[in-house]
């Protein structure tokens, strides 16, 4: 009873910052994120040496880089998770405008690293992919607009955010980066869904997405090639997907053993987009299920805590971040097991990649910040939620 009352009244103003954080933050999700990162390092130890050798770098160069970025990402996550929702919103909106500008300027200052899509800024020692950072900022920005529209005399936030989302998706699709575009649209759709989209609109929207997909299919050779290779019933065993499928098959339940896999030698993207295939080959279904479970824990715990949330902004922003995180994992895994058409997307926290790792750290930090236990308006909700 004491605890209930205590929580209902909220933390005392004088409580130390760190102890309040520790008491209110979702420690299970925090641990899950840490384990995902460790799984990424473990797989990087196996997956990246062949690439490092090809590029005349020390054997564990990429593992070392991943550990450095990981440290940075985890720190960012922790720092961000300290923010209150209001502060978070302010910084994220500022961040949104900065990253938006950065994405807009990509065609001028960006580079494509010879991969056919201008997505990066080269900073010499490393490269940055601004669209990765744009995602969480966009989610918070959208949540802000949407929740504002709930207020009396509020702005038409949903309409504005919709236009921004469409613009961004088009911008990313032009790079072309259909994965990020899909994520932006997906997150926005989830938020709108929770914000109370009318059912008829949801159906219409689904139709629209389908229409845009077919348009892209007809007009973009890049996109069409990927869809076609997905639709063809026979997997060409020499494609990335074919290698990934056979790696999963080779691995079986317990895998061929650490370092025993072959896919890392044949797939150029083994350490990024197809990291789960490496996991499946060397450690079998066991590790895959552990990784899937970790993602599920993070997403479901966030959703569970948001169920209780009475504040519209926190609820929407949380949904957008959790959905973006979950969708990214889903799409990456879905591509590898051939449930979805091939699309370049990293597995959050597990895949190698500086920008991706850092951005995921920041968005998870935001999610943790938003799902921290806070006093809610009504006592009955506290009772209701804890009963």
């Amino acid at each position: 009873m004491t605890e209930m009352v205590y929580r209902a009244t909220g933390p005392t103003p004088g409580e130390a910052l760190l102890s309040r954080w520790w008491r209110t933050v979702d420690k299970v999700s925090l641990t899950a994120a840490l384990f995902l990162f460790l799984a990424g390092i473990l797989l990087g130890l196996a997956a990246s040496p062949p690439l490092a050798e090809r590029n005349d770098l020390p054997r564990f160069y990429y593992v070392w880089r991943q550990a450095q970025f990981g440290g940075l990402a985890l720190s960012a996550m922790l720092v961000v998770s300290f923010l209150t929702p209001d502060v978070l919103r302010r910084w994220a909106v500022v961040g949104f405008f900065c990253t938006f500008a950065a994405v807009l300027l990509l065609p001028v200052f960006g580079t494509d690293f010879g991969k056919g899509a201008v997505r990066w800024y080269s900073l010499g020692f490393t490269s940055l992919q601004p669209s990765e950072f744009l995602k969480p900022c966009f989610v918070v920005f959208t949540a802000w607009l949407m929740s504002a529209s709930f207020e009396r005399s509020g702005p038409p936030g949903i309409a504005i955010s919709f236009m921004v989302a469409v613009f961004l998706a088009l911008l990313l699709a032009l790079q072309p980066d259909f994965g990020q575009a899909a994520l932006i649209t997906g997150s926005w759709a989830m938020m709108y869904f929770v914000a109370g989209a009318p059912m008829i609109l949801i159906i219409l929207l689904a139709g629209l997405v389908f229409g845009a997909g077919s348009l892209a299919y007809q007009n973009s050779a890049h996109f069409r090639g990927r869809i076609d290779s997905y639709l063809s019933s026979e997997v060409d065993p020499t494609t990335q997907i074919g290698h990934a499928s056979s790696a999963i098959r080779e691995g079986g339940v317990f895998g061929v053993g650490a370092g025993g896999g072959e896919i890392k030698r044949t797939l150029p993207d083994a350490h990024t987009d197809f990291i789960i295939a490496v996991a499946a080959e060397e450690y079998g279904l066991v590790l895959c299920f552990v990784i899937i479970a970790l993602f599920l824990v993070i997403v479901l715990r966030a959703l569970a805590s948001l169920l209780r949330e009475r504040d519209a902004f926190v609820r929407l922003a949380g949904i957008g971040l959790a959905a973006g995180f979950g969708l990214q994992a889903l799409i990456n895994l879905g591509v590898t097991v051939r449930l979805l058409p091939a699309k370049g997307m990293t597995l959050p926290f597990v895949s190698y990649g500086g920008s991706s790792l850092l951005a995921i750290g920041i968005s998870l930090g935001m999610l943790l910040a938003l799902t921290r236990r806070r006093p809610q308006d009504e006592l009955e909700d506290v009772f209701g939620a804890d009963r």
């Binding site: 929770v194 997997v235 299920f289 899937i292 994992a329 097991v337 449930l339 308006d377 009504e378």
Partner: protein, 601 residues
């Protein structure tokens, strides 16, 4: 400007009257309203968040499930890939009845080009054209142009040429080892052996699969791993086959025939000792199947096993046999041979001969009387005729081990086997079958009356228990009559001193594809047994459209065309098959006690 609702006047007045603060009252009311709206929104959102959670649970669940499925199953493509790795290019040899090689394998090389790996495409094309004069360097350059990644330059190349290609030093040219089927006897027994080609093929090896003939029929047996060391033994005798082909080819040319076939069958076991069809082909390099025209005109067509013909008077043996079996007549019974009409059809003798009012049963066969046969058929009737022909195998394809034989179904009146059908069939029209059918029927009728089944396998196909088609006595009489046809009848040109040839000629006018019959085109055949007293072998020779000019007149009948060829075949193969000639001249009656001495085998 957004319009705000006016204060609810009634409540404000009521509050004022009670001395309460109306602003406060209004604020409370507004708060309650906002709170209830938020609560509604919250409940709404809760439901939808639960839906999203379910969606994620379902999505990750599906991926997990899919991983389990992927990890525990093999796709057809993968299974095929595993099987393709084990390409077996080995193939067992085929030998004749004495173990002489008919088909074997040699190692050759395939030249395969990977143009995308070539250092210099033009140099490669020109180098190849220098080594193989039949290749055009310009064509090769065009074929090597991107995006070509894989193509065969040459399928079979000798070791010397392969070395020359190797010496070009072009990494984009790959030499693939190939087992090639070789038929060292060339055209000999081409229709029996058929041919082989490549099946599943990869760079390093290729399957050798049978395309036709016994190569196709026994493909699995020839490729089976456990029997690779054991050659497939055919009943063919290479020497006899060679003689038969020589004589048949010369005979066909001499008689101006457009095609010819010959079958030599063991009369007791049904084993094919030789079988030939002319024109023939080289199985090492078989011609392409014709795309248009009559497939029967192609050299690939096996007239002996595949050609279905009305074989004419040779069928009279069955009529005579049935007359004796049913007890209608003995060899000496006189048969009415006066001109006959059935309905509006006149039954005529060949060339409108008139053999007089009566002939003995033996003479009906010896003189080949159509009228006599017709009378007998009317006597024993449709059912008895049908039953005997069925017993002899005339109503279904032969069981000989050739795809061509399996597809050659006899043509007979399936529904409407009327009396007039019985009459025409009694002298060989209205029932079409292959020469192999004819040979096995002659064997069955004259070997003592036991059914034989035509086969290409050494040792023959045992029929267990033995099936009797006619009695021993009938069989003996038939042998006597057949001998008499040669000594006194139409087939005197087939006689071979010392080997007691018996047989029956058949000359059938060819049916037009448009209906009716040609006046001057015939299929002539001669079905022979030797030695007639105790037949060891049956020989059937068939000529397609023969025409021999004798004394300025064209002779097409079998006695002038097929019979002498059969005689020549017997004269040459009998010693080879181990039969010694009888001392002195052959006997008049095969069953009168003359002695046939057989060499020990």
């Amino acid at each position: 400007m957004i319009r705000r609702p006016l204060r609810p006047l009634a409540r404000i007045i009521a509050a004022r009257e009670q001395g309460l603060d109306p602003d406060r009252k209004e604020a409370e009311a507004r708060l309650a309203k906002v709170q209830s709206k938020r609560k509604r929104e919250h409940q709404h959102a809760q439901f939808r968040i639960l839906l999203i959670a379910c969606m994620f649970l379902g999505g990750f669940g599906m991926i997990g499930l899919r991983m389990v499925v992927l990890a525990t199953t093999q796709t057809p493509a993968e299974i095929a890939a595993i099987e393709a790795k084990k390409i077996v290019s080995d193939r067992a040899d085929i030998v004749d009845r004495h173990g002489r090689i008919l088909a074997t394998n040699i190692t050759t090389t395939s030249i395969i080009a990977h143009p995308h790996q070539m250092i210099d495409r033009n140099a490669a094309a020109e180098g190849l054209a220098r080594i193989f004069p039949d290749l055009d360097p310009r064509v090769l350059k065009r074929r090597f142009a991107p995006p070509a990644k894989f193509l065969f330059v040459k399928r079979k190349v000798s070791p010397e040429k392969a070395q020359a290609v190797h010496d070009l030093g072009e990494p984009g040219l790959v030499l693939g080892k190939r087992e090639t089927r070789l038929y060292p006897n060339g055209k000999l027994a081409a229709h029996i052996l058929g041919g082989a080609g490549y099946g599943n093929e990869e760079i390093a090896a290729a399957e050798v699969v049978g395309r036709s003939g016994v190569e196709y029929w026994f493909d699995e047996r020839l490729r089976a791993q456990d029997t690779l060391g054991a050659p497939l033994e055919l009943s063919i005798d290479l020497t006899a086959q060679s003689i038969v082909e020589q004589v048949l080819y010369r005979g066909m040319t001499l008689m101006n025939a457009k095609g010819a076939s010959a079958v030599v069958m063991d009369a007791n076991t049904g084993e094919m000792v030789a079988m030939s069809s002319m024109p023939d082909f080289d199985p090492n390099n078989p011609p392409a199947a014709p795309k248009k025209g009559d497939p029967a005109d192609s050299p690939l067509f096996n007239q002996a096993a595949q050609g279905v013909y009305e074989l004419g008077s040779s069928y009279k043996l069955f009529t005579v046999a049935l007359a004796m079996e049913t007890g209608i007549a003995t060899p000496d019974t006189l048969i009415d041979t006066k001109p006959l009409r059935w309905g509006r059809f006149p039954i005529r003798e060949f060339d409108n001969h008139n053999y007089g009012p009566f002939q003995s049963l033996t003479n009906v066969l010896v003189k080949s009387s159509n009228v006599g046969s017709a009378r007998l058929a009317m006597e024993f009737g449709v059912e008895a005729q049908r039953a005997l022909l069925d017993d002899l195998g005339f109503l279904s394809p032969t069981l000989m081990e050739l795809p061509a034989a399996k597809s050659a179904a006899p043509i007979y009146p399936k529904k409407n086997w009327s009396e007039i059908s019985a009459i025409t069939i009694s002298y060989g029209h209205g029932l079409s079958a292959t020469p192999v059918h004819l040979a096995s029927a002659y064997a069955s009728l004259t070997n003592g009356g036991l059914l034989v089944q035509p086969t290409l396998m050494k040792g023959g196909a045992k029929i267990d228990p033995p099936r009797r088609v006619v009695s021993e006595k009938t069989s003996r009489s038939l042998r006597y009559m057949l001998r008499k046809v040669v000594t006194d009848g139409t087939a005197s040109l087939a006689d071979v001193e010392g080997y007691e040839v018996g047989g029956k000629t058949g000359t059938a006018v060819k049916p037009k594809p448009t209906g009716g019959y040609y006046a001057d085109r015939v299929i002539s055949n001669f079905a022979a047994i030797f030695p007639a007293q105790n037949p060891r072998y049956v020989v059937v020779v068939t000529l397609d459209e023969p025409q021999d000019i004798v004394a300025g007149k064209p002779k097409r009948t079998a006695g002038w065309t097929a019979a002498p060829i059969a005689g020549e075949i017997i004269r040459r193969i009998a010693p080879v098959l181990g039969l010694r000639p009888l001392s002195g001249r052959g006997t008049e009656r095969a069953d009168s006690g003359a002695i046939v001495t057989l060499a020990s085998q």
